[in-house]
Structure formats: structure tokens, C-alpha cells
């Protein structure tokens, strides 16, 4: 058992898979000698050699194409996009090519690529670094999009992602990398993709969240509990396709829900969740399903970031609005 940060847990997941399977390759900008700008690939090149863990030229589209070609020749690429705000440079490879490969080859060629990338706000990065662009990925059929909220989940989910024969976009919230530690088993384990986790049980309202908003929602749930409201907090973990069964079962129990995301209201995946709840559980609802999100502006400069991002207080407020509807 290690007491690890999420960054360490992610490194360990990659180490595990590099050890386990010769065909696993880790590459991207600065991931080798430097160990990644967040040190998430720290030590891996030393341990596995430049042949398995390597720096690429500075070109995201090239990295995506490289991953596809390597996958076609029997490898399991784990490619890193240094910051997810740069995904536009490699959008074709991920959303245009990997996502449709299985279908266009009539199920004969697979695309076992893991796209790892840091994202997420509250750490005062320059522009185009922190944006929550998971919605763009989630709107692409054929991709799985995974966003862990803690070290334990991150390790199990990343191992599953690397072993998955379909492309998985694995997004690592920058604020979670080192903000807390957790006990993580040193041995390997997997967490099934596509399954949500109930992080806190409750009967009065369901709070559906992912990534850093899980921590915020847990704090909000504690505050609500002080006022006698028992909130159930669901961590989606895989945000696309998401675990609709767990969400619906919870909503049928609590009859109320809010969805919390860091992304802007028109982005992210909250709308999709609200739509599914409406289609499947409208008669269980005592109130409309509301969303806690950032406003529909461009991702702002760092100075206004804290005011712009959702926080526990806003979640509490929104939950009360639903409860008092």
C-alpha cells in the first residue's frame, strides 16, 4: 500500500502496464528524460528505456497519427497531450480517425490507444491549458472518456483504459494531481470503464459529478448534512458513455438531482445527463434537474478563475433550490 498522490497513482498504472506488456508505449512531449511537465511519467524512461518511453517532436497532430500507426502494427500506445487545451491540434486523429476505425475496417482493425492529458481549472495556468473540453470528446461516438477524481480510482481506471481495445481519452484534472493523498494498493487492480461509483449514499437528492467537482460535491454534501439533507454523490468516472443505470437508480430513490461540472453550461456532459434522466425517470422527479456549471464564456484569464468556477457553496445553493422547488 502506498500513500500516493493522483500523479503517483497514474505513474504507477503506466509502470504496471509497461511491465506487463512489451507492446505498451508511452510517448509525448517532454515525457522522457524530463518525466512530463507534471512529472507524471517521472522515472519511466529510466526504467523502461527510450524505446518504450520517448519524447516526440513538438506536434500534437503528429503524436496522434503516430499512435494510430503504432496501434496498427500491434502496439498499445499511451500518448500524452501536454495540456488538453491543445487537443484541437490533434482533433482529427482522435475524433475523426481513432473513434471510427473499428467500424470503417468492418471490425477487423482495433484502435487500442489511450490519450492521456491534464486539464481543469483552478491552478492559474495560461490560456488554452485548463479548458474542460470533455464534452467535445463525449459528443464523438466511438470514444470512451474517463475522468478520475482520486488516486485510487485513477490507477484502476488507467490500467483498464490501457487494456481496452478501443480508444480511451483519459483526462487528469491538474488540481487533483497533488492536492491530496490516498492509500493505493501497489499491486495491480482494475476498475471497469463505464461504471459510476456512489461516493456517498443519501436519500434526499442525487448530486452527479466528475473530476474535481466530486470533491466539491462531497464538501457540499457535508454542509447539506448539517442542515439535515442527505445527498447521494455519484462520481461518474467514465463520463462517456456514462453509467445511466446507476444514475437512474439513484434518482428513482432520491427523486431529485443536480449535475455538477466544471465545464461551461453549454459544454461538458451535464445536458446529456439531464436528458437521460428526463427520458427515463421523469415520473420519479419532484423537481427539475438543475445544473451547476461555469458560465458560457470563454475560459477566462487566471485572475477571475476562482469566481468563474463552480464551488461547494454554489452546489449547496443549487441543491436547496431543487429541494425547495
Amino acid at each position: 500500500m502506498g500513500n500516493w498522490t493522483m500523479a503517483q497513482a497514474i505513474t504507477d498504472a503506466m509502470r504496471n502496464e509497461l511491465n506487463k506488456n512489451e507492446d505498451v508505449l508511452v510517448f509525448g512531449e517532454d515525457v522522457g528524460q524530463n518525466g512530463g511537465v507534471f512529472r507524471v511519467t517521472e522515472g519511466l524512461q529510466k526504467e523502461f528505456g527510450e524505446d518504450r518511453v520517448f519524447d516526440t517532436p513538438l506536434a500534437e497532430s503528429g503524436i496522434g497519427g503516430l499512435a494510430i500507426g503504432l496501434a496498427l502494427t500491434g502496439h498499445r500506445p499511451v500518448m500524452e497531450i501536454q495540456f488538453f487545451g491543445f487537443v484541437f491540434e490533434v482533433f482529427d486523429s482522435i475524433a475523426g480517425q481513432m473513434s471510427r476505425w473499428r467500424y470503417r475496417s468492418g471490425n477487423k482493425q482495433t484502435m487500442p490507444v489511450t490519450v492521456r492529458s491534464p486539464f481543469g481549472g483552478g491552478v492559474k495556468t495560461p490560456e488554452m491549458h485548463a479548458d474542460s473540453l470533455e464534452g467535445l470528446m463525449a459528443q464523438t461516438p466511438g470514444l470512451k472518456v474517463v475522468i478520475p477524481s482520486n488516486p485510487y480510482d485513477a490507477k484502476g481506471l488507467l490500467i483498464s483504459a490501457i487494456r481496452d481495445n478501443d480508444p480511451v481519452v483519459f483526462l487528469e484534472h491538474m488540481k487533483l494531481y497533488r492536492s491530496f493523498r490516498q492509500d493505493v494498493p501497489e499491486e495491480e487492480y482494475t476498475i471497469e470503464l463505464g461504471k459510476a461509483d456512489i461516493k456517498r449514499e443519501g436519500k434526499d437528492i442525487t448530486i452527479i459529478a466528475y473530476g474535481a467537482m466530486v470533491q466539491a460535491s462531497m464538501k457540499a454534501a457535508e454542509e447539506l448534512a448539517e442542515e439535515g439533507v442527505e445527498a447521494e454523490v455519484i462520481d461518474l468516472m467514465t463520463v462517456s458513455p456514462f453509467d445511466v443505470e446507476t444514475v437512474i437508480a439513484s434518482v428513482e430513490k432520491t427523486n431529485r438531482a443536480i449535475v455538477v461540472q466544471e465545464a461551461q453550461k453549454q459544454a461538458g456532459i451535464a445536458s446529456q445527463i439531464v436528458a437521460e434522466i428526463t427520458e427515463r425517470a421523469i415520473l420519479s422527479l419532484e423537481a427539475p434537474v438543475l445544473r451547476v456549471t461555469s458560465p458560457d464564456t470563454v475560459y477566462p484569464f487566471a485572475a477571475v478563475e476562482d469566481a468563474w468556477l463552480p464551488n461547494p457553496a454554489i452546489i449547496v445553493e443549487k441543491a436547496k433550490e431543487v429541494i425547495n422547488f
Partner: protein
């Protein structure tokens, strides 16, 4: 000072030729070592492809094919380069590069299925190292860098070859792909078929560079411009590039100067809007088939009779291939859903159920 540098670079990219327009050998020392049978096989493939192109155009007009990008004029460039490959080599084609993958082993009826937009067209026979023809211009170039690196890692004695056009050489992915392959010293061969037009835009408007081959310089890889109507020159340049790649001497960019006689695709393109009949006539004189036929006739290796045999064979094969394509069960939405993921998640499972019910009615 700086223009002098460009002049010096451009001088190094003189067009490589072996056969002139009269079918005479003008570059004896570069003559590839090919048997009489091989020379005849190259001619057979070019004639076959020309007939197939004519038939495909007419089948398209009858509504019996789907998307089709004519290839007449480009036979030397496409088939000459392909002839230099080994069976295990990988081909990452663009949408016009169907002849290469068919001669690599893709059954003709599957090429027709692909044209119709049926996934059966890309369910390749096992062990055939090809990739579905690329529509996004440039994507195949970065993917080629990956396949080539993959082959190198797996210690295969094989290369990855890819094709794009003069327009494709303007894409960012083109530069990223050749740069990556160079940086990894990966066994890749990049062919740019400069047929003078990207849909309607002439190559002069693509770039201020006088040749596309010289773009190799910036990536630090070999580059060569070849007479793309001269099948022997294209063959030799590709063969040399392949050898160099396998000897660990890095990738090569080959620019083939060629011409597409027909429309860009059969989806309503009218080449008279952007080029003159004089230009067409000028290029018709350089025809790769005429030139190579003359060469072979000079060696008593080709005759009208032989040519007619190939024409008949092609027509028969095409007829049969269309029949086979017609026999293929139609594509269903359930197939599409079934191929989305290895383990279908709940949304896919539900939609599969829905469409299975609909489609079994």
C-alpha cells in the same frame, strides 16, 4: 544571399527520368534490373487499370458505383511505385490510390464495395497490410510515420508507403509526418503525386516552392522529383527509397510529376472549368502507357494481341466483381452499432436492441 540558397536547393531536384516520351532509354545507368516477365507485368497492370478506370467512370454514371476518383494518367506513378514493394509492406493510400491496394491483394469487388460506402470494402483479407483509403488529406501521412516506427520496433524488414497529392503537401500533417519519420529514422516512403491540381487549384497556387520534393530538405530526409509518366523511373526511385529505408538510412519523399486526365471525382467535377484543352493535349503526349508500350514493342515484349487479352480480362473481372459486390448483403444499422466498441456500453446495447427489432421486421 538567401535567394541563392533556394536556387541551390532547387537545382538539386531535377526531374529523374529513364524513358522519354518516345519510349527511349535516356538514363541507361539507372535502368532497373527487371526480367522480361516483370516488364510485361507492369504493362499489364497499367492497361488493366486504364480499362478499369474507364469502366468505373461509366458504372458510376449508371449509379452502380459510389464515390470514385479517376486515375487515368497516373498509372505509372501509382503502379510503378507499387511494383517496388514487397507483399508484407504497408500501404496507406489516399482516396485515389485504389489500384495500388488492389494489386497488393484487395479483391476488386471489395474496392467496389468501398466505393459504395459499404464497410465490407474495408474488411481486408487477413494479413493484407493496407489501411482504409484516407479521405482526410494528410491524416495518412502522420499515420505512416507511426506504422513505419511500428515496423522498425517489431524488427520487420518492411516499409510503410503512403500517397497524397500536390494539394496534400500543403497540409500541416504532411510536414509533421515527414518530420516525425525523419526524427525516428523510420522506414517510410512518402509519395506526392503531383497531378498539377488539387480539385481546381493549380500547384503554382499551393506553394512558392518550385518542387515539392525539396520540402524533404527541411525534414532532413531524402527527396527526389521523378517523371511520374515514366513507370521505370517511378519504380526505380521507389525501389531505391525502400532499400535506403531498410538499410536504416531514413525515409524518402518522392514527388511524381503526373496528370489526371479525368475529373477530380465523379461527384460533379468539371475539369474544363479550371484547365485548358491545350494543357490536356500536352500531357496526353506524355502518356505512361504509350511510352512504355513503345519501349516494350522495341524489345518485342508487347503486341496488340497481348494488349487485347488484358483488356478482355479486365472487362471480365470487373463484370464479375460488380456481381460479387451486388451479392453482398446490405449494410444495416445493427452492423454499425455492433462495431462501435468491443464491449458495447449501455447506450449501444439499448440502441442495438431497438434496431435489431426494426431491422428484423
Amino acid at each position: 544571399m538567401s535567394t541563392k540558397t533556394i536556387d541551390q536547393v532547387e537545382e538539386q531536384f531535377e526531374t529523374f527520368q529513364i524513358l522519354n516520351e518516345e519510349g527511349e532509354v535516356v538514363n541507361e545507368s539507372e535502368m532497373p534490373d527487371l526480367s522480361d516477365e516483370q516488364l510485361q507485368e507492369i504493362m499489364r497492370r497499367m492497361v488493366y487499370t486504364r480499362i478499369w478506370d474507364q469502366r468505373a467512370i461509366s458504372l458510376n454514371r449508371q449509379g452502380r458505383l459510389g464515390f470514385y476518383a479517376p486515375t487515368a494518367g497516373q498509372e505509372a506513378s501509382q503502379l510503378g511505385s507499387h511494383f517496388a514493394l514487397e507483399q508484407e509492406d504497408w500501404i496507406l493510400p489516399g482516396y485515389r490510390d485504389i489500384p495500388q491496394i488492389v494489386f497488393h491483394g484487395l479483391p476488386l469487388h471489395q474496392a467496389f464495395l468501398w466505393s459504395r460506402g459499404h464497410f465490407g470494402g474495408s474488411q481486408f483479407p487477413d494479413g493484407l497490410n493496407i489501411v482504409v483509403p484516407q479521405i482526410i488529406i494528410g491524416a495518412q501521412i502522420i499515420q505512416t510515420a507511426g506504422v513505419a516506427l511500428g515496423l522498425k520496433r517489431k524488427k520487420k524488414e518492411n516499409i510503410a508507403i503512403t500517397y497524397t497529392g500536390d494539394g496534400g503537401a500543403s497540409q500541416g500533417d504532411f510536414y509533421e509526418g515527414i518530420n516525425f519519420a525523419g526524427a525516428y529514422n523510420a522506414p517510410a516512403v512518402f509519395i506526392v503525386q503531383n497531378n498539377r491540381f488539387a480539385i481546381s487549384v493549380p500547384v503554382e497556387k499551393q506553394s512558392a516552392a518550385k518542387t515539392i520534393a525539396q520540402k524533404a530538405v527541411a525534414a532532413g530526409i531524402e527527396g527526389i522529383q521523378v517523371d511520374g509518366m515514366d513507370v521505370l523511373a517511378v519504380y526505380k526511385a521507389t525501389l531505391d527509397a525502400r532499400k535506403r529505408a531498410l538499410a536504416g538510412e531514413g525515409p524518402t519523399l518522392i514527388e511524381t510529376l503526373t496528370y489526371r486526365y479525368g475529373a477530380h471525382t465523379m461527384a460533379g467535377d468539371d475539369p474544363t472549368r479550371y484547365r485548358t484543352s491545350e494543357e490536356d493535349d500536352e500531357w496526353a503526349k506524355k502518356d505512361p502507357l504509350i511510352r512504355f508500350r513503345k519501349f516494350l514493342e522495341g524489345k518485342k515484349l508487347w503486341s496488340e494481341e497481348k494488349e487485347n487479352e488484358v483488356v478482355e480480362q479486365a472487362k471480365e473481372d470487373i463484370k464479375q466483381a460488380i456481381k460479387d459486390a451486388d451479392k453482398t448483403p446490405k449494410q444495416n444499422v445493427t452492423d454499425l452499432l455492433g462495431f462501435m466498441f468491443e464491449n458495447p456500453p449501455v447506450n449501444i446495447r439499448e440502441q442495438l436492441e431497438e434496431y435489431t427489432a426494426k431491422e428484423s421486421k
